[in-house]
């Protein structure tokens, strides 16, 4: 698909409305790449003039900082802020709650001040403004969907409603897990756990959460974070439910339901 980079916009002497910060998972992880393409497709359909940084994007430093490596985080932040400020970026949308949190909350005091929006909030805006329309009888109409709150969206930044509002637009049957919203159970990936073996325990966190999600009887577990997506997909396999229960990002659900 055709996506214009910030450098290309600049070469044309034009400025995009918004920068789509893809993030490492969305760039490299094969499963998450599908989420990235789904969201880019929606942006195209909605006629949003957006850019990506392309090869100039680098890890925000989130896993390094949460693991305790502040030096590495500060180096990554310095580099990214230089890039973003050179292009005069004002507004960023990202499909990764970790990038969203760190760009929005932790870059400002280092000199990187941008309006940062998570893609679920952005999708809600596009729907509210009528820029995208959902099919009358889309593939998820009447289907049972449960939403898994990402910690970095929910507790981290108090975003509980936007993802649910977007899901409501699908006209699906939304069911909540017992542990939802501010009581939502982590998928187990945060705090750089994604990049190491879990510590010794009686079970894995993603198994515990996926068991709960599968227990709702939903055919779709909706996620809003590429890391939650990976963890829950593994957990659903553990439950041997991968044939009947799909873990999908909210952007994918919308992309396949657009009129």
């Amino acid at each position: 698909m055709q996506v214009t980079t910030m450098a290309e916009w600049a070469a044309r002497g034009e400025t995009p409305e918004i920068l789509f910060w893809v993030g490492c998972s969305g760039s490299y992880d094969q499963r998450a790449q599908k989420i990235t393409r789904a969201f880019a497709t929606i942006l195209d359909k909605a006629g949003v003039r957006y850019a990506i940084l392309g090869k100039e994007e680098a890890c925000t430093g989130d896993p390094a900082r949460r693991a305790g490596n502040e030096f590495l985080f500060q180096m990554m932040a310095y580099q990214n802020i230089q890039t973003l400020n050179n292009y005069g970026v004002k507004k960023i949308v990202t499909a990764c709650p970790h990038c969203f949190n760190i760009l929005g909350n932790e870059y400002p005091e280092l000199g990187g001040r941008y309006e940062v929006i998570h893609h679920t909030t952005f999708l809600q805006q596009l729907i509210d403004e009528g820029k995208i329309r959902i099919k009358e009888s889309g593939p998820f109409k009447g289907k049972r969907i449960t939403y898994h709150d990402s910690c970095y969206l929910g507790r981290g930044n108090d975003i509980y409603e936007a993802p649910r509002k977007v899901l409501e637009a699908l006209d699906a049957e939304l069911v909540e897990m017992k542990r939802c919203r501010s009581k939502g159970l982590c998928c187990g990936a945060g705090g750089a756990q994604m990049f190491k073996e879990e510590e010794k325990g009686t079970t894995r966190i993603n198994f515990e959460r996926s068991h709960e999600a599968v227990g709702t009887g939903a055919g779709v577990i909706a996620a809003a974070c590429p890391f939650c997506n990976t963890m829950l997909t593994d957990g659903v396999k553990q439950e041997e439910k991968e044939e009947t229960v799909k873990v999908m990002d909210i952007a994918e659900l919308i992309a396949s339901s657009i009129a």
């Binding site: 490299y28 392309g54 390094a64 500060q74 910690c151 981290g156 945060g190 894995r204």
Partner: protein, 442 residues
């Protein structure tokens, strides 16, 4: 009789207050061993938090039934203090039910109200004791509480039950003596109170002299119990009834997802990238001592973290919500707070004994293991649940920082993670040139 009461009561009261103030000053000194951290400003929001989180116990209402019972104990405790005030004034002046004289019918209403609360506190404490010892809720049977902490919780509940019983018995004996017109009791006719007269059938057979002894014994035990409890507080998890207030006032106002910045590291990176921004080295060759990165001991945490440690009442809502704890990892956010307080108390005793802190060869890492720190997903469930605005996560992150930056202590996979981020600008070993590879397909 009343003169004797005055002679004994006043020194006891003065001693109790003196000991309490001395201990609280030590707690304050210990908290201030922490590093400075700016929590000034936003006083409007802070007062609102104090009212909602501390007075209103907003977070407790995540479980409404427990919240109501807890609120009864709390309101009972605060409001019955008005009665305690009368007891103290009576004790000092050698009077009896001083307030009944000028409050008249209002006084009876007040005491009736106190009796309602006393019965409420009594019942709530019985239920809370059974939750701990009979129903055995998971968070109460956790090994975090083995030994003293579990006894501490039970002692507090039992003490409250005893104090309430003494208060009701005292009123029952008093009103019975009034009805008999006995001695000075007959001069303060208040009539029966709401609940305590139910005890009259038990006491009717007693002689008036015996009732006077009973009434006085209850009076003394009640007030001595309260003064003892006051001095027990600073040694107990129950200190939260005081520190919940400053802890709510100093609640973190930023989004939970935001981590505390490290300006020292920020500047080092800046000076490395843009050497012209670095301040000139001092001419005399002296350089500022290198800061410690992260926390190895309580001195490296901020006063805010140490205030958290003293505010924790070990309820375990944090650990009950912690994904690591729920799946059998050794991490328990409650234990992080208890360990921090234990170490801080140890440091405090060291200072009391030596005048200033003398190296004891220990650190907070002797109390909190690397495995505990490694299990955290930074999900903020513990922070969200805490009714008194504690952040165990902040301590975990500070200690992780020291493990990595001071001790280069990281699991192999994390070292690979760091090296990938540094060299490939992504946590995995992919080429930066392929970052836009997703555009090629689909």
């Amino acid at each position: 009789m009343l003169l004797f009461q005055q002679i004994v009561f006043i020194p006891v009261l003065v001693l109790a207050i003196y000991l309490f103030v001395r201990k609280i000053r030590r707690v304050r000194r210990n908290i201030l061993l922490g590093k400075d951290e700016d929590y000034s400003g936003d006083s409007g929001r802070r007062w609102k938090n104090l009212l909602l989180l501390a007075f209103g116990q907003k977070k407790m209402f995540r479980n409404p039934l427990v919240a109501v019972m807890h609120f009864v104990i709390y309101a009972g405790f605060i409001i019955i203090n008005i009665e305690v005030l009368e007891i103290m004034v009576d004790g000092i002046l050698g009077t009896h039910r001083l307030f009944s004289g000028f409050l008249g019918p209002v006084y009876i209403g007040l005491i009736d109200g106190f009796e309602v609360l006393a019965v409420g506190v009594f019942l709530a404490c019985v239920i809370f004791l059974s939750r701990r010892n009979i129903v055995k809720l998971r968070r109460f049977i956790s090994h975090d509480l083995d030994g003293w902490p579990r006894s501490d919780a039970n002692y507090i509940l039992l003490t409250e039950i005893v104090l309430m019983t003494l208060f009701l018995t005292m009123n029952a004996a008093d009103t019975l003596l009034q009805s008999r017109g006995y001695g000075h009791y007959g001069l303060h006719l208040t009539g029966d109170f709401l609940f305590s007269h139910w005890l009259h059938p038990l006491l009717n057979g007693w002689s008036s002299a015996a009732l006077v002894v009973l009434e006085r014994v209850c009076w003394w035990l009640h007030i001595l119990g309260i003064l003892a409890f006051l001095n027990y507080l600073p040694y107990s998890k129950h200190l939260h009834i005081l520190l919940a207030f400053p802890n709510a006032y100093y609640a973190r106002l930023q989004p939970e997802g935001k981590l505390r910045n490290m300006p020292a590291v920020q500047n080092e990176v800046l000076y490395a990238m843009q050497p012209e921004t670095a301040p000139p080295a001092p001419a005399d060759g002296s350089a500022a001592p290198p800061p410690r990165f992260g926390a190895k001991d309580v001195f490296d945490l901020s006063w805010r973290n140490l205030l958290d440690a003293y505010s924790c009442t070990e309820c375990g809502r944090c650990s009950a919500a912690c994904p690591a704890n729920l799946t059998g990892k050794v991490l328990s956010p409650r234990k992080i707070m208890m360990s921090t307080r234990d170490r801080l108390e140890e440091v405090g005793r060291n200072i009391d004994a030596n005048g200033k802190f003398t190296d004891d060869g220990k650190t907070l890492l002797d109390y909190i293991s690397v495995e505990e720190l490694r299990a955290c997903t930074s999900c903020n469930a513990c922070v969200e649940e805490c009714p008194v605005s504690i952040s165990p996560l902040e301590i975990i992150v500070e200690m992780r920082r020291a493990l990595i930056m001071e001790d280069s202590n990281a699991p192999q996979e994390w070292n690979a993670l760091f090296s990938n981020i540094e060299n490939n600008f992504a946590p995995w070993k992919f080429s930066p040139d392929d970052r836009d590879g997703w555009t090629a397909e689909g």
